[in-house]
């Protein structure tokens, strides 16, 4: 019997590229993307299958060291290591964005040593100004042209509108699932939610929509959701594309009820304005409003108001701040964000990792102590 709902999400999460390989075998062209500044709506509207490139936290980086430095974002190094090992050989294209130094610089190395039929980097300014918004708008226009050239046909306006509408529907469904985390206990656990979102990154949007509907139906009707736990936490920080750490937190008697990470609330909440100029909608969603710390948004700590708001909305009692080694944008926000949370009465716990999770036991102890404190 075919799997559905959470079981299907877990299977897709574990066998991360199976569906993409199946689609490839059916003649579809798969385009991998790192980070979230290049709208996958454009790829999908051109008839391509967007695939969110993941790392594999369980796989030690070995082969990449022949081409890149050991000091650098461990997530980005890990993804490249997998490319070198042939794990991404099903990709027809690779799209990256100038999301941070690590990705910007990796693009040159990746395309040099592992060229693909289609490669493109979307450049992203560091500051939000009218001039930088205009630049990003033009940049997306150039990206769309390159995608059209690779796809072999212009992207029809209606196809792009339909793609935006489809992605917006998935975002609305994700938000509905997030709403189910507001109750106590939540109806869906943080680990389950992350599995669903990661699974969605390897699917065409229509299939992701279907999966989300299945999961919503399941979690709203199941009798045995996450049981009572002692605390409710918000998970903030660097990319986390593996559920191990969230599971660990939830095993330690705390619900992860909300997040502010890029495979989470940052990427899936809100909606792209549809109708009119679609690129302008993308600029607002993927640049102006996208809360990645790589973008300079002034010096006032009120830039973290959205985080306090999210914590309050989901009744989080504390915040886990997840920091990967060498992540300059996040680490340079860390002092501000901790103080701002503290001023708002929200205790925080910093968990540092080098994208190996080799220190899980010491993390467990620290999480237990944190839960004791906030509960």
């Amino acid at each position: 019997m075919a799997l559905t709902g959470l079981a299907r999400a877990r299977a897709l999460y574990e066998a991360r590229d199976d569906r993409a390989r199946e689609l490839k075998a059916q003649g579809k062209r798969i385009v991998g993307y790192l980070c979230y500044f290049a709208p996958p709506e454009i790829l999908e509207a051109a008839g391509l299958v967007p695939y969110r490139i993941r790392g594999d936290i369980r796989e030690r980086v070995t082969d990449a060291d022949q081409y890149v430095e050991p000091y650098g974002c461990p997530f980005v190094r890990n993804t490249f290591d997998q490319a070198v090992k042939g794990r991404y050989d099903f990709l027809d294209g690779v799209v990256m964005a100038h999301s941070c130094d690590s990705v910007q610089r990796m693009y040159g190395i990746w395309t040099h040593y592992r060229p693909a039929a289609f490669t493109h980097m979307v450049n992203v300014p560091h500051t939000v100004t009218p001039a930088s918004e205009r630049f990003f708008h033009r940049e997306l226009g150039l990206f769309k042209e390159r995608v059209e050239a690779f796809a072999g046909a212009p992207i029809d306006d209606r196809a792009l509108e339909a793609s935006i509408a489809l992605y917006n529907r998935t975002r609305e469904l994700v938000w509905e699932l997030y709403q189910l985390r507001k109750s106590n206990p939540p109806l869906i656990s943080g680990a389950e939610m992350l599995e669903v979102l990661i699974a969605g990154g390897g699917l065409p949007a229509a299939e992701f929509e279907e999966l989300l509907r299945e999961v919503t139906a399941e979690v709203t009707s199941r009798p045995d959701g996450p049981g009572a736990k002692r605390a409710r936490l918000l998970f903030y920080g660097c990319i986390n594309d593996d559920v191990t750490l969230i599971r660990l937190i939830e095993e330690t008697s705390a619900h992860v009820v909300m997040d502010d990470t890029c495979i989470g609330a940052r990427s899936f909440l809100g909606r792209v304005t549809n109708g009119g100029d679609p690129l302008a909608g993308f600029v607002r969603y993927y640049f102006t409003g996208f809360q990645c710390p790589r973008t300079y948004r002034g010096t006032d700590r009120s830039r973290f108001d959205y985080l306090i708001h999210a914590a309050r909305q989901f009744q989080a009692q504390g915040v886990v701040l997840y920091m990967l080694s060498f992540c300059d944008p996040h680490k340079l926000d860390l002092v501000d964000v901790r103080r701002y949370l503290e001023d708002a009465g929200l205790p925080s716990l910093v968990l540092e990792d080098d994208y190996t999770l080799t220190n899980l036991e010491s993390m467990r102890t620290r999480i237990q102590a944190f839960v004791e404190m906030v509960a």
Binding site: Q104, R105, M121, N123, A131, E139, Y296, T299, D328, V335
Partner: protein, 442 residues
């Protein structure tokens, strides 16, 4: 700490740098009570600040100074105690720690070299080169110094986008032009003065002359024996190039430097008496131990060219509209750099006068500078400059040129290990020597 030593400068002009570049080294004299003072990042056009007659100081340069005076560790530790990760740029940690300590004391920290930095009224940042630079002044302002911040934010085309395509050129130069115009508007608001276009034109003309002189010096450094090594470049060329571009005394200084280097070439005088190895230097230098270059020199090796603070060939600009000339210079330089292979260099479109050389240019240098190899300094806290060294090493290996990569940091001496690093250098020299002997026999 005794293993760390200052550089023995070879050139007389470099030895006289502090005297010849007096307005930079006596920066306290530039400050005026109650008047605006900017802290700037490399990447901001010095010419523009000069045109505003705005005194400015450079936290990055202060980091190198603190490193050279062996006090950077104190400030880095202070920043770390405040919650700034040891992963972060050591220039940044040095500056944050310095400010934190100044705020704590309510006065300039007594250990600060040169009397410390002036109290700024604005922070002028730049989005070029690396991420931490866009976040640094944000953290500084929100945590310690609540003063206005402005970042210029030019972008550069990726290596596989042709900057000579008119649409691409228009796309990038429009952002560059707008970000410079926004910067001018910010400076006009902060200083209460209008931009003096005549003064900007004069500064750009001076800068053009200085860049041409530096290019001449870099070409002269091809000579055997090498007339000027990295120890003189880092101690004598970086300050005027990065922080005084456009100022008449900096141009005059470079003229003297060019004359001295030219004279050395004519007389066949080299940096070291018995030059046996010529190496490319890649990466930031260990500012707390520039004597490292002398130590390597004592083993018969010289560094005739560096990848950092690279200016490249002069480009022609039309000074009739000086602001547009600044845009034109930035873009033409970015295009020149891009032509030589930009797959591993950071953003190279910047109104300042330097960038990094492309991969193909480095391969060309092997012939032009008769290089026996490359020595690369992998700086743990500056990934932006270190990134790409493995790739360049691979590229040079295709030319049969060996490379050594060793690890440390540019301003934080805690990661320096003299015995380990010199052991690596000696081992590398042995391998280079063996390969030279083999080549001679073949």
């Amino acid at each position: 700490m005794s293993e760390l030593r200052r550089a023995q400068k070879s050139l007389e002009t470099v030895r006289r740098a502090k005297e010849m570049l007096g307005t930079f080294y006596r920066r306290q004299e530039r400050r005026r009570e109650g008047a605006p003072l900017a802290w700037c990042m490399a990447g901001v056009s010095s010419e523009l600040l000069y045109a505003f007659d705005l005194p400015w100081e450079w936290p990055e340069n202060f980091g190198t100074l603190c490193a050279a005076k062996q006090v950077a560790t104190r400030f880095c530790e202070q920043a770390e105690a405040d919650g700034f990760s040891q992963d972060l740029c050591s220039y940044l940690r040095n500056n944050v720690g310095y400010v934190s300590r100044a705020v704590e004391l309510g006065a300039t920290p007594p250990e600060a070299p040169g009397g410390g930095m002036g109290t700024p009224t604005m922070l002028l940042g730049s989005g070029s080169i690396c991420d931490p630079r866009i976040k640094w002044f944000q953290a500084l302002s929100s945590t310690y110094l609540p003063i206005p911040v402005f970042h210029i934010d030019p972008m550069s085309p990726p290596h596989d986008v042709d900057p000579r395509d008119p649409r691409i050129a228009a796309h990038y130069t429009e952002l560059l032009r707008e970000t410079v115009q926004d910067q001018v508007a910010f400076l006009e608001r902060q200083t209460g003065r209008r931009l003096d276009l005549g003064r900007l034109r004069a500064a750009l003309a001076n800068a053009q002359e200085m860049i041409a002189l530096l290019w001449e010096i870099q070409e002269l450094r091809r000579a055997v024996p090498c007339p000027m090594g990295s120890e003189d470049f880092f101690t004598g060329a970086v300050v005027p190039l990065l922080f005084m571009l456009g100022e008449p005394e900096a141009t005059e200084y470079f003229r003297c430097l060019r004359d001295e280097v030219r004279d050395r070439v004519a007389r066949g005088v080299g940096v070291i008496p018995d030059e046996r190895y010529r190496f490319l230097w890649m990466g930031l230098p260990p500012w707390y131990n520039l004597g490292f270059f002398n130590a390597v020199g004592e083993l018969g090796a010289v560094f005739p060219i560096e990848t950092v603070y690279y200016v490249g060939a002069p480009v022609e600009i039309d000074l009739s509209d000086p602001l547009e000339a600044l845009v034109e210079r930035s873009w033409k330089r970015a295009t020149w750099i891009h032509d030589w292979g930009a797959e591993v260099i950071p953003e190279n479109c910047s109104p300042s006068g330097f960038s990094a050389p492309g991969t193909r240019l480095i391969r060309q240098w092997v012939k032009d500078y008769r290089l026996d190899g490359a020595v690369m300094h992998r700086t743990r806290s500056c990934r932006a400059v270190s990134w790409g060294q493995v790739h360049i090493k691979n590229q040079l290996a295709e030319e049969g040129v060996p490379s050594l990569i060793f690890e440390s940091d540019m301003a934080d001496p805690r990661s320096w290990s003299q015995s380990v690093i010199m052991g690596q250098v000696r081992g590398f020299l042995g391998a280079v020597e063996a390969s030279k002997r083999e080549a001679a026999r073949a």
